[in-house]
Symmetry: C2
Subunit: 142 residues, 2 copies
């Protein structure tokens, strides 16, 4: 539950001007109790529903990518045609419900620490992500 002036600082601190559009997008994304997952399309619909002045799709793309670059969003790719953004930027894993197409955060009492015994020589690990796909029992599994 951040307020407008906090978004202004947040944007200024990252070298982004606090424009009307960016503040509106901040409000939609970050002015909540819980983090959530969304697609660009979800966000565009959400904004057009809850904002009288329209924000162009190019700006929505630009802003989401800027926020991702600044580390305010993470991108989670499920398949070649499904990409989600996540307002939860802490390290965490996901369940993906193939029936509902919903991403669900895992916490530590759901997936234990991944044990990486050997890394590639000369490389540093930049992220470790687990994706657990789930579906109804009686549905076709692949």
């Amino acid at each position: 539950m951040l307020k407008n002036s906090e978004f202004v600082s947040k944007l200024r601190n990252s070298g982004l001007r606090p424009t009307k559009q960016r503040l509106k997008i901040c409000e939609v994304l970050f002015n909540r109790d819980k983090t959530f997952h969304f697609t660009i399309n979800d966000l565009a619909k959400n904004i057009s529903k809850n904002f009288n002045k329209k924000i162009s799709l190019a700006t929505i793309y630009n802003t989401v990518h800027a926020f991702k670059d600044k580390g305010y969003l993470k991108e989670i790719t499920i398949s070649s045609d499904k990409s989600y953004f996540d307002t939860n930027i802490t390290k965490h894993h996901h369940f993906y419900d193939e029936d509902t197409n919903l991403l669900i955060d895992c916490n530590d009492n759901e997936i234990g620490k991944v044990n990486i015994k050997n890394n590639i020589t000369g490389k540093k690990i930049s992220s470790v992500e687990v994706l657990v796909r789930v579906a109804s029992d009686y549905q076709n599994q692949n």
Copy 2:
């Protein structure tokens, strides 16, 4: 190192007619000692280089998707704009080298078993995949 007649059976057994094009693609993908990762683009280039008669891009897409549906290939999605296919269809995890854009298979002495303590109620796990992104030590990490 399978031979042509084995590919013919394999295709027939899955209800796919053993056409010239599909057999050529089988040869390129499965007539090897080691499994590997490829993009559609890689495969198309490979075929045009090693085959005198061209296979249309539509057929390459169709065949790769048919093979994936039949379980002869797995798809590994790295980001919204990078999708790989894998001829290793066993359960395994991956390192992704952000410097070289190369996918590398993990074996059990690199990543231990993922401990899933609680699953979503009423759902069955259809896959568990770990992706470890790595990059050079001195490179920008995100």
